[in-house]
């Protein structure tokens, strides 16, 4: 192998000037990264207006999801609601029913927290076995951002709400679907945020600009976007989204409801079907994400043989509560086929279950809350595929 012309020859970029400042006042990723985008699966839903797409988690690292590629889920399309037109009402069992403008919201003391938001249907296709070949599609209904917002309890207090533990907070959005959900008072007083910034900038339209609800550790459907109303009620409203949807049907036909928490889960993002091993044998970084709606991730184990032997992975940094944790297994690939799996543990001692454990407990019709251990078969050429194992 001779000398590399990229080094020995003068290159254009080392000779001519590049573009000036302000070429793109709000920047986009460089063109070489243009394939790193959200993607939908057209046949999953009747219309892209009431649909979902997937975060390209295979191509990201660290834990923070850039807003521009964070998955979208709309029930009646994303709406353009300006700060001037934004109104937030709080009513019901309160002493003072109030209306806030956007400016009002920014006058309350605020906090910053990193949280993951996972759709309850993430990995839902896999109940019926290995379906879509790509971690973007099996696990991409998730994002993780740093939110700036006002604690919901502050607004409840402002209105003089009845905060006794048997009360509920019903929240709805300003879009045509309104997507109403009921939240028990205990959670509303705990860590729920009325958020207006994500990763330092204003929320994107598709994530609920100008104001959305953040319900840490709980299913994404409750994170109401374009928030317009908070009502204190004496029972759950039993809206369409909490009865006909987001309930989990067992094998015997009964269904489980109020399954709000997202249990501990992890997945290897690379290697994975969209991220084959291209460098051959030798040093290999196995990388992935772990999260739990119950708190911190304390440990992630990785198996290369389908669960016979496990090694404990290295965490990128100490896990934040109810936020994505990055893990790495720095290994040496000998070119032999692998069955890659990851298994997360959280601070409650919960261990991520296998597909068989979940199915034995719930059957295969649950749709939602599939937090099973995922398997990638990596062949001798480094190509990975979504599989199920015995």
């Amino acid at each position: 192998q001779g000398p590399d012309p990229l080094i020995t020859e003068l290159q254009d970029w080392a000779s001519y000037t590049g573009v000036g400042v302000d070429e793109t006042p709000y920047g986009l990723p460089i063109s070489y990264e243009s394939h790193v985008v959200r993607r939908n699966v057209e046949w999953l839903t009747a219309s892209p207006i009431s649909s979902i797409n997937f975060t390209p988690i295979h191509a990201l690292d660290g834990t923070i999801t850039p807003q521009g590629c964070a998955f979208e889920r709309h029930h009646s399309g994303a709406i353009e609601l300006s700060k001037q037109d934004f109104r937030l009402m709080i009513n019901g069992l309160v002493e003072k029913p109030l209306v806030f403008t956007y400016e009002d919201i920014e006058r309350f003391p605020r906090e910053n927290h990193v949280y993951f938001c996972e759709c309850a249907a993430n990995t839902g296709m896999e109940w019926a076995g290995a379906q879509l070949n790509g971690v973007q599609f099996t696990h991409g209904m998730i994002h993780n951002m740093e939110y700036t917002g006002v604690p919901l309890r502050t607004l409840l207090q402002e209105a003089g709400a009845d905060i006794s533990p048997d009360k509920w907070v019903y929240v709805e959005g300003a879009d045509a679907s309104s997507n109403g959900r009921s939240i028990p008072m205990e959670k509303a007083l705990d860590d729920v945020l009325v958020a207006f910034k994500a990763n330092g900038e204003a929320l994107r339209m598709e994530h609920g600009y100008p104001v959305r609800l953040v319900v840490p550790g709980w299913e994404g459907n409750m994170w109401v976007k374009w928030l317009r109303r908070i009502e204190v009620v004496d029972r759950a409203v039993e809206s369409r989204e909490e009865t006909s949807k987001y309930t989990d049907v067992y094998e015997d036909g009964t269904a489980r409801k109020w399954t709000w928490v997202m249990d501990a889960k992890s997945v290897i993002t690379s290697p994975s079907p969209q991220m084959p091993i291209r460098h051959g044998r030798g040093p290999l970084v196995i990388s992935g994400l772990a999260w739990s709606g119950h708190g911190q991730i304390t440990r992630v184990d990785v198996s290369k043989d389908g669960g016979i032997t496990w090694e404990t992975a290295r965490l990128g940094k100490q896990g934040d509560t109810k936020a994505l944790t990055r893990f790495y297994l720095d290994t040496n690939w000998d070119g032999a086929p692998m069955l890659l799996q990851a298994r997360a543990m959280d601070e409650t001692g919960y261990v991520q279950p296998t597909k068989d454990q979940l199915r034995a407990q719930r059957g295969e019709n649950s749709v939602y809350h599939n937090n099973c251990i995922q398997t990638w078969y990596v062949n001798a050429e480094g190509v990975a595929e979504n599989v199920e194992v015995s």
Partner: protein
């Protein structure tokens, strides 16, 4: 090895120093402060404002507005406002929700979860339909229309007769078929208790084999979206695994038919060609078209949805989109060779139901002439 040890020592030193600085510093983070009587931010909500937004209905019927309706009246309203997606008999069109039937399927492999077979409370149907339906025209139904639609859905599920008068007085007491079909989240007792054991690390299984391969391979084209294609590969010829590793290393591993690409060829982004003149009008029309997007597509790759695709609409024979199941009035128009021109489209868009009596299109029409002009320009430019 010496160098590595020295490096580690150096790192340890730096980290210890940083830790000491951290420990000696005050932790100034704190939760957002609260004030006993509130901050005095916001204004009192007017009763009219609360009435306008607080329309949710509780399972016991609280929150229902006065009114009534029956399935006999509901059938017509449903055909007019709901059937383009949900079907004339609430059976669902394409992927849109089926609202009727499915009784005793909840324990089957693919349960059919309808209002009749699955929903535990009737209040949910009223609440959702009144607030969020019809899709693309939410909030336009009157209470009486809503009662009638709910009654028609019950009738489609054989739960009432067509003369049953559903109203604010009896809706809250109506007992749904699956009212006892739900249990509260019992994962803590059934799952967490048994899944908190220290996990196995070695020799956890004797042998592992691949039992299923991905049903779909997914192509990820550079322009976005995805194409899933069937994976025809079988599990034949794949290695099994034991503690010693894979049973064999395939000489030439079977490649999936289409390797999902991590580095697709990056194509030069196509610069959007701005139309001269008319550009603003087209842009305005694109915005207006949002009202139609729930049912109609236009432009490259447009296909029929619950409404026909609109490519080349001006100059096209009415009722002529291939493969679309038109209402009678449009089939008749096609047989008469009537053609969409700008005048016809303007009249239709202003009052669809009076211009095309019997159309299945649920949309009630565009009120502003400017919107009609803009959307016509947009359709002309996007659907060439």
């Amino acid at each position: 090895a010496d160098r590595a040890a020295a490096l580690e020592l150096q790192i340890a030193k730096v980290q210890a120093a940083a830790k000491e600085r951290m420990a000696s510093a005050m932790n100034l983070t704190a939760p957002a402060p609260s004030v006993e009587d509130g901050f005095g931010i916001g204004r009192a909500a007017h009763p009219e404002e609360i009435a306008a937004w607080d329309v949710d209905v509780l399972p016991d019927g609280r929150g229902l507005p006065e009114g009534s309706g029956n399935a006999y009246d509901g059938e017509e309203i449903f055909a007019d406002r709901c059937a383009s997606c949900h079907g004339d008999f609430a059976e669902g069109v394409d992927n849109w929700p089926v609202l009727a039937g499915g009784f005793d399927t909840l324990a089957d492999e693919d349960p059919v979860k309808t209002v009749g077979s699955y929903w535990p409370y009737l209040s949910t149907a009223y609440d959702y339909i009144y607030r969020s339906m019809p899709f693309g025209e939410a909030g336009t139904l009157t209470p009486d229309e809503t009662y009638a639609i709910v009654a028609y859905i019950l009738y489609s599920n054989d739960l009432i007769d067509d003369d049953y008068e559903l109203s604010h007085e009896n809706l809250g007491q109506f007992e749904m078929y699956n009212k006892d079909g739900f249990v509260l989240d019992d994962r803590p007792e059934l799952e967490y208790a048994q899944w908190r054991a220290e996990p196995c690390m070695e020799n956890c299984k004797d042998e592992v084999e691949i039992t299923m391969r991905s049903v779909f391979l997914v192509e990820t084209p550079p322009e976005g979206g995805s194409n899933s294609v069937m994976n025809h590969a079988t599990t034949d010829g794949l290695p099994t695994f034991s503690a010693e590793g894979p049973s064999f290393i395939p000489a030439a591993a079977v490649k999936p038919q289409e390797e999902a690409s991590g580095e697709p060829d990056v194509e030069e982004p196509v610069a959007a060609v701005a139309a001269d003149g008319g550009g603003e009008l087209v842009a305005a029309g694109e915005k207006v078209f949002k009202k139609c997007k729930a049912c109609h597509q236009v432009g490259a790759g447009a296909t029929n949805k619950s409404g026909p695709q609109l490519n080349g609409l001006i100059g096209r024979t009415m009722g002529s989109a291939d493969g679309f199941n038109y209402s009678k009035v449009f089939t008749a128009a096609m047989e008469e060779d009537r053609v969409w021109d700008e005048a016809a489209l303007a009249e239709f868009l202003a009052r669809p139901k009076s211009y095309m009596k019997g159309t299945k299109m649920a949309f009630s029409g565009l009120k502003k002439d400017a919107d009609i002009v803009a959307i016509t320009e947009y359709l002309k430019s996007a659907g060439e």
